[in-house]
C-alpha cells in the first residue's frame, strides 16, 4: 500500500508540473488542486451557490481548495449498479480567504441539465481540502428567479420566504462530522475519465424507512395526511472515511422529489401518528475531481423514492402552546407541510451503516395535512404567532 501511495504521489507531482498555471503544492495530497478549465469563483459575478468557512487543526482558518460537486438526477443514480462509476461534475471551485471564508459560484459554462431535478433542485457535495486533510458536506440548492435581478440559489422546496436562504457551511478538515478523512491515496479509481466522474457505487440499500409526516388531531378533529406529487424530502447524508459499519456520521443532506402520490388512511380523534415511506439509498466512494485518486471517503445518500405506505402511533405530541379557536363546525383546515419538521433519526438506516440519519419534509403546494373539525376546538401551534405560521400543530 505504501509503495502504491508513493507511486500515485509521484504521478500527482508530475501532472502538477504539467499544469504550470495551477497553484498545486505537492507536500501532501490534500494541498490545493484546481480543476482544469473550471472558472474560479472569485472571477465570477453570479449568485453564490454556497458559502462558509474552512477550518483546520485547532479551529484555525485553513487555506486550500473548496469544490462543489454536482450529482446526477435521482433517476440516473437509481439506475446505477454496484461497482459502476457516477458521472458527477465539479461546477464551482474557490480558495478560502485568510479568514477561512469562501464563496462558491457556478461556472456558467458548465451544463447543468442532467444534474437538475424537475423542481430545479441540484444535489451537491461541498468538498474542502487543505494541509490538515479533507472535508465533505452534502447540501442541495435550487435556483430561484432565474434571469431576473433577484436570481439566487436557495434551499430546496417551493417556498418564497427569506427563511430559504442557505445557511453558512462549516468545513472542518480531517474531523468526523465532515468526514474523518486524511486525504491519503488508497485504491484509486481507474484512469481519470472526465465523462464518468470520480465516484463509484459501492452498495445499494432498498426500502429504507423514512419519516415524512405527522398528525395529532386531538378530541374534536380527524386528520388526513397526503404526500403528493411534487413533494420534496430532505434526507440526511452519512459520511465516513472508511465506509465501514459504525464509522458514519451525519454529513449534511440531499433532497429527493417524488412523482407519485401517497394517500394515507384518515386518522381519527385523539390519534398521534407518524407517517413513513421508503426510499432507496446508495453508498458511494468519492475521489478528488481532478485525478480521481485522492480519497474523499464515503457518502450514503438517497437515490430514489420507493413509496411504501407505513407509519406508527407516536408516544406523544409536540409542545404546541399557542391555540387558535375553531368556533364554526364542521371546518377543514388544510395545512401544507413545512420543512421545519426535522426528525433527527427519521431515516432508519442504522442496520446498514450503524446510525440513523435525519429526515425533513419539504414545502409543496400539493402535500398537505387536513384537520377536519367536527366539534368546536383549537388548532394549536408551536410558535407564538400560531396558525398558519407554525410548523407543528395539533388539535385540542
Amino acid at each position: 500500500m505504501r509503495g502504491r501511495r508513493v507511486i500515485m504521489t509521484s504521478v500527482f507531482t508530475g501532472l502538477s508540473a504539467l499544469w504550470a498555471w495551477a497553484p498545486v503544492a505537492t507536500a501532501t495530497p490534500a494541498a490545493p488542486l484546481w480543476v482544469p478549465g473550471l472558472a474560479h469563483s472569485d472571477h465570477l459575478n453570479g449568485p453564490v451557490l454556497a458559502e462558509g468557512s474552512m477550518y483546520g487543526k485547532g479551529g484555525r482558518p485553513a487555506s486550500g481548495t473548496v469544490y462543489a460537486i454536482a450529482w446526477p438526477v435521482q433517476s440516473t443514480l437509481a439506475a446505477l449498479k454496484d461497482g459502476e462509476r457516477v458521472k458527477t461534475i465539479a461546477i464551482a471551485q474557490a480558495a478560502p480567504r485568510a479568514d477561512g471564508g469562501f464563496k462558491l459560484r457556478v461556472d456558467p459554462s458548465i451544463p447543468l441539465k442532467e444534474y437538475t431535478e424537475a423542481d430545479g433542485t441540484i444535489n451537491l457535495s461541498i468538498r474542502g481540502g487543505g494541509a490538515d486533510g479533507l472535508a465533505v458536506w452534502a447540501v442541495s440548492r435550487r435556483m430561484m428567479d432565474k434571469g431576473k435581478p433577484t436570481e439566487r440559489w436557495v434551499e430546496p422546496g417551493g417556498g418564497t420566504s427569506a427563511s430559504h436562504v442557505p445557511q453558512r457551511l462549516k468545513l472542518q478538515l480531517g474531523q468526523a462530522g465532515s468526514a474523518a478523512l486524511d486525504g491519503n491515496v488508497t485504491v484509486p479509481l481507474p484512469a481519470a475519465d472526465k465523462q464518468m466522474g470520480c465516484e463509484e457505487v459501492k452498495a445499494t440499500y432498498n426500502q429504507v424507512v423514512v419519516a415524512i409526516g405527522e398528525t395529532y388531531p386531538g378530541p374534536h378533529a380527524k386528520a388526513t395526511f397526503v404526500y403528493t406529487n411534487g413533494q420534496t424530502s430532505t434526507l440526511g447524508v452519512g459520511v465516513s472515511a472508511s465506509g465501514s459499519f459504525g464509522s458514519f456520521s451525519q454529513g449534511g443532506s440531499s433532497t429527493s422529489a417524488q412523482a407519485t402520490t401517497l394517500q394515507f388512511p384518515q386518522k381519527t380523534y385523539n390519534s398521534k401518528f407518524i407517517y413513513q415511506s421508503t426510499f432507496q439509498f446508495k453508498k458511494f466512494h468519492g475521489y478528488d475531481p481532478v485525478f480521481c485518486v485522492f480519497d474523499y471517503g464515503y457518502e450514503v445518500r438517497t437515490t430514489a423514492f420507493s413509496g411504501s405506505v407505513l407509519g406508527y402511533d407516536a408516544c406523544c405530541a409536540p409542545s404546541t402552546p399557542y391555540p387558535s379557536a375553531v368556533n364554526i363546525v364542521p371546518t377543514h383546515i388544510i395545512k401544507h407541510t413545512s420543512n421545519a419538521v426535522n426528525w433527527s433519526n427519521g431515516v432508519k438506516i442504522s442496520a446498514f451503516i450503524g446510525i440513523d440519519l435525519s429526515s425533513q419534509t419539504g414545502y409543496s403546494d400539493s402535500a398537505e395535512v387536513d384537520f377536519y373539525f367536527t366539534a368546536k376546538g383549537n388548532l394549536n401551534g408551536d410558535v407564538e404567532s400560531g396558525y398558519p405560521n407554525s410548523a407543528r400543530v395539533k388539535g385540542t
Binding site: 427569506a162 368556533n327 371546518t331 377543514h332 404567532s385 400560531g386
Partner: protein, 181 residues
C-alpha cells in the same frame, strides 16, 4: 418687454420643475417592494359551512417580520374573491384576551376587542405583541361557495413600502355542501 419674457420663462421653469417633482414623488410612492421582511407563510386553506348573507369571521395571524425592525401595516385586502362579500377587516392583539381564532360566527366577533388594521405595528418575534387579522365575510345568496384565494398585506419598513401576498385560502360552503374529506 424683455423682463416680462424672462419672468414668464422663470414661471414656466418653476412650473415644469414642480410637475417633475410631483411625478418623481408619485413614482417613488408607487414603488412597492416584493421581497420585504414579512415572510410568506406556508399555504393554508380554511373551509366551513355558513348560511348565505350571514357574516362570519375568518382569522389569520400576521407572520412577524424577519430581522430587527417593526413593520407598519398600511393595507390588507383579499384577492381572488368570488361569491363573497368582505364586510370588514380589523385586527386584534392575541396577547390580550386570547383573540386568536380560525373562525367565529358574526362580524365583528363577539367578545373580542378589535383594532384598526391600518397603522398597526408588527414587531419581530419576541419583541412585541402578535396580531391577528380578522376578516368579516358573508357568502352571497347566489353562490354555493364563496371564496378568496389569497390575502395581500401592504406594509412599510423604514420608509419603504412592501407587499406580501399570503397564500391563505378561504372557502365558505352552503350548509350541508362541504365534503367531509
Amino acid at each position: 418687454m424683455r423682463s416680462q419674457t424672462r419672468a414668464r420663462s422663470l414661471r414656466l421653469i418653476a412650473f415644469a420643475t414642480a410637475i417633475a417633482g410631483v411625478v418623481v414623488l408619485l413614482g417613488l410612492r408607487s414603488q412597492v417592494g416584493q421581497n420585504g421582511p414579512v415572510p410568506t407563510t406556508q399555504p393554508v386553506t380554511v373551509e366551513y359551512e355558513y348560511a348565505a348573507g350571514q357574516p362570519s369571521t375568518w382569522g389569520v395571524s400576521i407572520p412577524p417580520p424577519e430581522g430587527h425592525v417593526a413593520a407598519t401595516v398600511t393595507a390588507v385586502e383579499l384577492q381572488g374573491v368570488t361569491g363573497l362579500d368582505v364586510v370588514g377587516i380589523q385586527a386584534c392583539d392575541t396577547t390580550v384576551g386570547g383573540c386568536s381564532l380560525v373562525n367565529a360566527p358574526g362580524w365583528p366577533p363577539s367578545g373580542i376587542a378589535t383594532l384598526q388594521i391600518e397603522g398597526l405595528s408588527i414587531a419581530p418575534t419576541g419583541t412585541g405583541p402578535v396580531y391577528q387579522i380578522l376578516i368579516g365575510v358573508s357568502r352571497r345568496a347566489d353562490a354555493s361557495i364563496g371564496s378568496a384565494t389569497a390575502v395581500k398585506v401592504t406594509y412599510a419598513v423604514g420608509g419603504t413600502t412592501y407587499e406580501v401576498v399570503e397564500p391563505w385560502t378561504l372557502r365558505i360552503f352552503a350548509p350541508g355542501a362541504m365534503p367531509a374529506s
